[in-house]
């Protein structure tokens, strides 16, 4: 009787412990579990290494007189060159696929056509679209507005040399041409500026790479006419016409890269933040290059943010100094006058000072009506716009002649280069975003990942993979498109409001809440389990003793 009662107690304790473990713990686990959707972590990790393969297809055409017909037959059809570059741990492999043929292959998209000309030709060549005339003897390479480059055979490469020698001579020069026409080391560094840590010695290249706006699916361009003195000046600017004439062609050309919207406003009583100094020698006011940094802030308060979109805004300000502080000139660092009387601020916009003293006449009667010369203004703004959008015109190596860009303000190969660097930049930004999001979610274990975020992340990853593949194939348009999609999806996932919830209590608070329940429950169970174990052990010992 006594023993069976004891036995019953033990059994009851064991079964309660079993119920707690089998039912209670899973129940608690299930009810307090956070929902975490599946993320493609391994693919993200793979992307984080950022191994990009960029390829540029080059078609080389030999003009008559450079190779003999026998040699021409032996010219290889394709030839692949590979080049590896590592930028701060990120590996970028460049492929140059050279197609060396005599006939143009119309169906394929080439990044570059190189026409190889004999040395003694007059360097006159025409296609349907381009007409080049190279009169200068020292020009060996001419880069046209489209994707065509003309290469003149060197004097040491007369006819009669073997084909191998010719090709060996050709190769470094094609590379040089490609440096100009497609991507150079600087472009890639600029595109990856987020990921690359700069060494402090090359400040110039940092400034260069930080000038252009970050890649974005759209830009807002705002022209503001600042009239601090409406009592003296009544300004008229035909901004509508000027935008149509000067800015729109460039933006139409750039439309594959991003969407642009243009607006303009006139702001009155807007002062610059700096008092210009009067220069008696020139009887004019001057703004020093050092003080230009302080000009923008007070003006910016009046510019107003863009209410209609969240795209970055490029500001172009035309400042007409008031009658008392006129004329006003911007002075460079070496005290010299800046011919354009304008300056730009990286990733912000440009400011131009427009003096109107010439309009006063001998007996000025205020207010003076002034029509602003938009051609002069837009020339400056257009140049600034090119810089800020990252259409850099790097100085070509000696012996190169680059065709002047026509009415569109942008050569085809410049657009290609921009698309290249934008795609690389987008891919880099999107991978950084996705990687850091994955890291964050990995670190905070109880953050909720809902299906929406997971879907955005996977679509970003898919787009990224597609963009990388398209880059590899050399399809710039698609690469840019996919990289834009990747950026949008990754930002959407990263800034999802559900990730910011204040639902994530620290662990000590959770324990404070659980202790009143768990402590009185678990202590008796544990104690009785211990007791059962010790009793069982004692019984065994007694049995052992009995056997002995």
């Amino acid at each position: 009787m006594f023993l069976s009662e004891r036995r019953r107690g033990q059994l009851a304790a064991l079964s309660i412990a079993a119920v707690v473990i089998i039912v209670g713990v899973p129940l608690w686990w299930r009810t307090t579990e956070t929902y975490r959707a599946w993320l493609p972590v391994s693919q993200i990790k793979e992307l984080a290494k950022l191994q990009l393969q960029l390829s540029a297809d080059v078609e080389v055409v030999f003009a008559r007189g450079t190779v003999t017909p026998e040699q021409q037959k032996k010219v290889p059809l394709t030839q692949t060159q590979e080049e590896e570059r590592a930028i701060d741990g990120d590996l970028i492999i460049l492929f140059l696929i050279l197609l060396i043929r005599n006939t143009k292959l119309e169906s394929k998209f080439f990044s570059c056509h190189v026409l190889f000309l004999p040395e003694d030709t007059a360097l006159r060549y025409s296609t349907q679209a381009d007409l080049y005339l190279l009169a200068f003897q020292d020009v060996n390479v001419y880069i046209g507005q489209r994707r065509t480059a003309l290469l003149r055979i060197g004097p040491q490469m007369r006819v009669g040399k073997t084909l191998e020698q010719l090709l060996a001579h050709l190769e470094p020069r094609i590379k040089q041409v490609l440096q100009v026409m497609s991507f150079s080391h600087n472009d890639i560094t600029a595109a990856l500026s987020d990921r690359v840590r700069f060494s402090p010695d090359n400040k110039e290249s940092i400034a260069d790479s930080m000038r252009a706006f970050k890649s974005s699916p759209g830009y807002e361009i705002t022209f503001s006419l600042l009239n601090p003195d409406p009592k003296s000046h009544r300004l008229h600017w035909d901004i509508e016409g000027a935008v149509q004439t000067y800015i729109q062609p460039l933006l139409t050309k750039l439309s594959p890269v991003a969407n642009f919207s243009i607006d303009s406003q006139t702001l009155y009583y807007t002062m610059l933040g700096v008092n210009p100094r009067f220069d008696t020698s020139r009887s004019a006011y001057t703004l020093n290059a050092d003080s230009l940094a302080h000009v923008i802030n007070p003006v910016e308060a009046r510019l107003g943010s863009n209410a209609a979109s969240s795209n970055p805004v490029l500001n172009f300000l035309l400042y007409v100094p008031d009658a008392q502080h006129s004329p006003l000139y911007i002075q460079g660092r070496k005290k010299q006058e800046v011919p354009s009387n304008a300056f730009h601020s990286p990733r912000w916009g440009g400011i131009m000072v427009y003096n109107v003293n010439g309009f006063y006449g001998s007996e000025p009667e205020f207010p003076v009506d002034i029509n602003i010369d938009m051609a002069k203004v837009m020339g400056v703004f257009l140049a600034q716009l090119r810089l800020l959008l990252g259409v850099q015109s790097s100085t070509p190596p000696p012996g190169f002649l680059v065709a002047r860009c026509g009415s569109t303000g942008l050569a085809d190969w410049e657009l290609d280069r921009l698309m290249w660097s934008r795609s690389v930049e987008n891919v880099a930004t999107a991978t950084t975003t996705i990687t850091s999001l994955a890291q964050l979610l990995d670190q905070i274990g109880n953050i909720v990942i809902n299906d929406n975020i997971a879907q955005q992340v996977s679509s970003a990853v898919t787009s990224l993979q597609l963009a990388v593949a398209e880059l590899e194939a050399g399809n710039l348009g698609f690469a840019l498109q996919y990289s834009k999609e990747a950026i949008l999806a990754s930002e959407k996932a990263f800034f999802d409001p559900s990730l910011l919830h204040l639902l994530y209590f620290p662990d000590d608070q959770k324990f404070a809440i659980y202790i009143p329940l768990f402590l009185p429950m678990c202590v008796p169970i544990l104690l009785s389990l211990l007791k059962i174990v010790s009793e069982a052990r004692q019984r065994r010992r007694e049995k052992q003793a009995k056997k002995d």
Partner: protein, 569 residues
């Protein structure tokens, strides 16, 4: 190249082409009305008219006088009309008369959208967020729980006969506190900023040291001419302020621009086509002394009355005199005189005791001696006050007054508020009382405001009416008139439009103790633990019968018996 040549030609200096007629126009105006209480009412109006079309054709993107930020809002959200006001303090109609532009305490926003908008609610949500950024206000707290679609009360004030109230949204935030950070962006919308013209007077430390302050922005399409062949967009920025006699005036019945605003005027805004100051001297021209004196007098029909104003034209140099500065001085000679009693007036309060039920009383006064007129009453009550609509009573002069039109939209918990609109005929010289009972709901603990014991605000009721006028009103909407008299369109001569806002209500809701959740957790856990512990003990303890030991009484008895020598029990 021809384009370039054209640009070159254009650039030739000195030869001025006839400048194109500017398609935008800016006017500024200040009305000062000395009040009978000795307070003073100053009302600023700035109007920008722009002959453009935001809706059809190409995108409008080149701004001159019209602020770019608002223009972008109009074109992006397809806004037909936008009215927004921020008010600090309550307008005391019985003391001060009718304001030129009424507004409820806190923030009010009502917008008519174009009928091309497909998802009005989403557009509204986005619009409120953008406006909240533009005006640095908490308009982002406008959501479906405080937005209503009035069916009759807020008709468009501009042209256009769209009356489908699906495109109308109305919301108030009675709790909103208006301060400098709202004034600064408002001033930035003016072409001259606060640098020149009347806006120089808008110094925030003075403006907010007042009994009443209200600033507003109204955007609407208006007719350019009588036949309405061309339309233009009107942006009206208004600012109304009442300075207190004792607080700002040091108790003296003597006001000057410098005393009110601590600034004087030196110039008009050079961009303004008209810049005027009006002083209301109707009540008794002999009572005030104005210096400098002006010979320019003007009459205007405003709020059903013919008023006389002294006018100062700031575009004329001689207004500023030899000191080149204008400091208007208004001095009372005597304090006699009677104020015209406002014909329509309303007030509202909450009755009842306890935290379960209550009753909202709205009183509407018709002070007209012999004419009755209809009023439209709009009430938007948050869902947590559950209205018992069957208890709605409307009585005037002790008799039941049956409203001729009732539009009631019941609330949905946490989704939308109650909307009650009624058309009530107010008998002459009477008080009409509207009462409705309500029950206070219990909120979830995260829904309470940070200071729940302060109470919850219920926005003002809005009473809109065409009040019979004592003089013939001017119905020609295109004639040149002072800005303050031309805001509400006037359709007939015999009446004028008035909108009256009642006080917002402050209602206490049952408020829990907010440390409750943790207490509840601890208490439940303890109860569970105690119950579980005893159960566990019962189940696992082994019981055995034991010889009961004798009780304490028995033992004591035995000791005593032992001492007495009697055998123990």
């Amino acid at each position: 190249m021809s384009k370039y040549a054209a640009a070159q030609k254009q650039a030739e200096p000195a030869v001025l082409q006839p400048t194109p007629q500017p398609k935008d126009d800016f006017q500024e105006e200040l009305v000062v009305r000395p009040l009978h209480s000795g307070d003073i009412y100053a009302s600023f109006q700035f109007r920008t008219l722009w002959e453009t079309d935001f809706m059809r054709g190409n995108k409008v993107s080149h701004y001159r006088l019209f602020p770019k930020s608002l223009g972008q809002v109009i074109s992006k959200f397809s806004v037909r009309e936008l009215h927004i006001s921020f008010t600090q303090g309550y307008w005391r109609t019985m003391q001060w008369g009718q304001p030129y532009l009424p507004s409820p305490p806190g923030a009010e926003l009502w917008v008519w959208f174009q009928d091309s908008v497909t998802d009005v609610d989403a557009t509204w949500k986005e619009l409120t967020n953008v406006l909240s950024g533009i005006f640095c206000a908490s308009l982002n707290f406008i959501d479906s729980t405080n937005t209503v679609q009035p069916s009759a009360s807020f008709k468009p004030l501009g042209i256009g006969n769209v009356t489908d109230h699906r495109f109308l949204r109305y919301a108030t935030l009675p709790r909103e506190i208006v301060c400098t950070e709202n004034l600064t962006p408002w001033k930035k919308l003016l072409p001259c900023g606060s640098k020149a013209g009347l806006a120089v007077l808008l110094k925030s430390e003075k403006l907010f040291h007042s009994s009443f302050h209200s600033q507003a922005v109204h955007i609407r399409p208006v007719c350019q001419d009588w036949q309405c062949k061309t339309t233009s967009w009107e942006l009206r920025q208004t600012l109304n302020v009442v300075f207190d006699l004792h607080n700002s005036g040091q108790g003296k019945r003597e006001w000057s621009l410098f005393k009110m605003f601590s600034r004087t005027l030196t110039e008009a805004c050079p961009l303004a086509s008209s810049s005027k100051i009006y002083i209301d001297i109707t009540d008794n021209p002999e009572q005030f002394e104005l210096s400098p004196a002006t010979s320019l007098l003007s009459q205007a029909m405003v709020l059903g009355d013919r008023r006389t104003f002294s006018v100062y034209d700031l575009t004329q140099q001689d207004t500023f005199g030899s000191v080149r500065s204008l400091n208007l001085l208004i001095r009372w000679k005597s304090t006699e005189g009677d104020m015209l009693r406002p014909l329509l007036h309303a007030e509202r309060y909450v009755a009842g005791y306890g935290l379960q039920t209550g009753e909202i009383h709205t009183l509407m006064y018709n002070h007209h001696p012999y004419r009755s007129f209809p009023v439209l009453l709009l009430d938007s009550v948050p869902w947590y006050l559950r209205l018992y609509i069957h208890t709605l009573t409307v009585t005037s002069k002790g008799k039941d007054n049956k409203p001729s039109y009732i539009h009631y939209q019941p609330s949905k918990d946490r989704v939308r508020p109650h909307l009650l609109e009624m058309l009530v005929q107010l008998p002459p010289n009477s008080v009409t009382e509207v009462t409705v009972q309500f029950e206070r709901a219990l909120l979830k603990w995260t829904e309470y405001t940070p200071d729940p014991n302060h109470g919850f605000y219920v926005g003002s009721s809005v009473i809109s009416s065409l009040v019979p006028s004592t003089v013939a009103m001017d119905t020609n909407s295109t004639r040149e008139r002072p800005l303050f008299s031309s805001f509400f369109p006037c359709k007939e001569e015999s009446s004028y439009f008035v909108r009256v806002y009642t006080e917002p209500l402050l209602v206490n809701l049952p408020t829990p103790d907010f440390s409750m959740p943790y207490n509840v957790i601890c208490l439940t856990c303890t109860v569970v633990a105690v119950g579980y512990g005893s159960l566990y003990n019962l189940l696992t303890r082994s019981f055995q019968i034991e010889e009961p030991s004798p009780g304490l009484a028995k033992r004591i008895a035995n000791v005593i018996r032992k001492m007495r020598g009697v055998p123990p029990l």
